[in-house]
Each structure stands twice: as C-alpha cells, then as structure tokens.
Amino acid sequence: MTSGADSGRRHVVCAAAELAPGERRIVEVGGRSIGVFNVHGRFYALHNGCPHKGGALCAGRIGGTVVPTGGRSFVYGREGEILRCSRHGWEFEIATGRALADPRVRARTYPVSVEDGRVVVTV
C-alpha cells in the first residue's frame, strides 16, 4: 500500500469482484476497524464504532427502511442503503454515515475507490 502525504494511508481491501452488491467486509486498517460496503455497485467505508455509544456499527443488519412520507402511508424503500447498528439499532445511511433520526449524528466515513479492479480505502 502506498502512502500519500495528503490523502492518508491507502489500503487494499479486496478485489472488487469479491465484494458483491449488498455485501460488506470489516477490515483492520492502521489499528482501526472499518466496514467496507457495496451498495448497488458503489463502495463506501464507515468507521466500525457507532457514534451513539460505540457499538459495532458495521456488524449490523443491512436493509431498507420506512421512508418519510409526510402522511399516514408506510412506504418501504432504500433497500440495501441502510445500516442498523448491532448494539442499539440506530439506523445510518451507508453512503453518508448520517443517522436517519438525527442527521447531526454521523458515523465517520472514509474515501473508497476502485483501482485496477481492487477496492481501496483511504484512512
């Protein structure tokens, strides 16, 4: 892994083909536990410590949720985009790390790229 002064430490997670849509991989990078996710073909990385109370966020269920409707209809959506912490069940948007119930609460995200068919996370 090369290390750039501006971009932080780069770490190859796996071949992109090994992380299919809907899947995740939890890796240790520089002493940090990080979850790398494939959401509909795009890759994202989140710190595996919940900003709520430190639970193993990235080990939680991946799925959809009931989306805000402004009315009394219950519409299920965003399948595959939402991560629910394994500890207390708070919902987070994988793409941004934001908690759905309170966007001021945010899980740390890391840049992810695909280079030569490999998933690379920058920490």
Binding site: A59, G60, R84, S86, R87, H88, G89
Partner: protein, 362 residues
Amino acid sequence: MIDCDVHNNWSSADVLLPYLPAAFREYMERGELPGGRGSFPAAHRPWLHPEDFKRTDATPPGGGAAGSDHAFMCEQLLDRYSIDHAILNGEEAIEVSTLANPYYAQALASAYNDWVQDEWLARDERLLASLVVAPQDPAGAAAEIRRLGGHPRFAQVLVSSGSQRPYGDPFYHPIWDACAEVGLPLAVHLGGNAGVNSMPTGCGPPTFFWEAHALLCETGMGHVASAIAHGVFERWAGARLVLVECGIAWLPAILWRLDEDYRALRKETPWLRRLPSEYAHDHIRLTTQPLELPRNPAALWPSLDDIGGRDMLMFASDYPHWDFDDPVFVRVPPEWREQVMDGNARTLYALPQPVGAHDERR
C-alpha cells in the same frame, strides 16, 4: 462493579418442563401456548418491538437466543467489564404476572426459580438470581419466598412493574411479610404490561413501541407512592423496594410532589411518621438503565442530588437488550461513581467487599 439487571434466557421454555409439577406440566406440553411449542405461557404486551428487543450482536455464535449462553455472556459482559456480581432477572419469567390463573402462574415462577439455580447459579459464583413470584397470588408468592428465600444466591424477590394494583396495597402485604421474614428486597422490573394487569398509563394505551417504552416508567411512580403511602416501610422496618428499568429522572419530581401533598393531607395516612422522600431515601433503590440523557448530560444530577439520589441508584446494563447501557460509556459523575457502580448494590445485597478494596481505601 455490580450489574443489577442482566437477562439470562432460554432458547425454549420447554427447559421448565422437568421443574413443573405434573398437574401443570401438561398445560405446557399439551395446552395452548401463545407463541407455539417452546414458547412461554404469558400474555404479550400490545407493543411489538419492530426489530426485536435484543441486541443483534448478542446472539451466541453457536446459536440460540440472546442471553442463553453463559460462555458468551462472560465474553460480552462479565469478563469484558470485570463485573464482580450480576443480578439475573430472567427474560420472560416475570410475565407470569399477566396470567389470569394465579396457580399456573406461581407454578411457572417456581419452575423458573429451580431452573435458574441449576442452569445459571451453579455455573458461576459471580451470578446472583432474583426469586420470581406471581404477585396475583400473594399467598402462593409468600410460600415460594419462604421456600427459597434463605438460599444465599437469591438476592431479591422479583415481580413485574405491570400489576393489578400498586404494590403497597394491602392485597400484597403477604408478599412484603415474607420478604421481611427472609430479609430480601422486593424488586419490580419493567414488564408485565399485558393480560390481567392494568395498562401502564392512565390516559389509555400508547400506540407505538418507542412511545410506550418511554412511558412505562409511570408504573414505577405508582409503586413508589403506594409503598410509601400504605406504610410498608413503617410496618416492616427492613423492607426495601428496588425499581429495575423504571427510569430515574422522574424520581425527584414525584417525591417533591408526594412530600407537599402529604404535608397537607397527613391525616389520610396516620401510620406515617416521616416525609415520603425520607422513606424513599432509606428504603427505595433504583437501577440506572436506561439512563436518561439530557442535552446537557450534567443536567440530570442536581435534582437527583436534592433527594439523596447518590445513595439510591445502582448501575444496571440490561444485557442483552436493545437499550443496553455500557458501563464504560455510561455518564455517571465521578464523585457518584463508586456508590452507583458498586457500593449501593453491595450494601443492599449484603455482598462482601471486593478483594483489595480495604487496602485501596487506606
């Protein structure tokens, strides 16, 4: 550190079958069960947790229900946080309070009490258990308290916060009498909000799980007021009431209100000799989980300090439930920490001082 609320579970309620008398074993073997074979016979609360109420990371690696595997409980809780003692409160056993048949309910509670000795207390010296009774059968409950209350590993008698009437009511005095005889506190754990028990909020049932869960502390208020007003702590000087998972932030407000109204209307309860808040300080203990979290975390403590809360609160994690409080992250003021995380429970349950504690204090 002492954890005052840990939920030991089973993967199937059929584990109780060998402990049930023949008359009631048939009820579980052949009779109707609300959740099918292997489920526990109790009425279910009308709010269903939409994600299940267990931590999803608490499912044992070898399978089974969260809280059912002692080794995994050690890994995730007891060893991880160096907990000296944990009070086991079972998972569904307190829900016997919801059944209309008090005799079946008490038989189930007794079966649980025998099972918890064999399956849990025998495995680990750190574990203490609550002695579960069916409060709708006060005479049967008192007999069960006398049957097992002398066992040194039962720390307290346990009932659900959902009830047919508040626990100071003379209907329940046989239970208080038996508790006094064996020298155990009566603990009231959140639950039992179904079946024959009253709804927990006076204006009618809440609708959603999170809405209800936040409001179930109302039952705790009723039991506090009732035990004080009916003179439980005058009649049995050693009586202790422990509220488990019923919240703590409301306590100062309710005690202030009780004090003020008692001052005006003392004549309704001539058996009382002290202010409600004074009885509460000496006789009532509350577990901290789920600890309320104000926007400014420090805002929680001044009002509690006003009623002597430092002497009354006892840490609990509620492992392995969804609203678990982590002992490392829980925000207890440094000067309260020794009492809340350890000392108050150690005194209440008459537990030995930790090894080395005496030397540290010198």
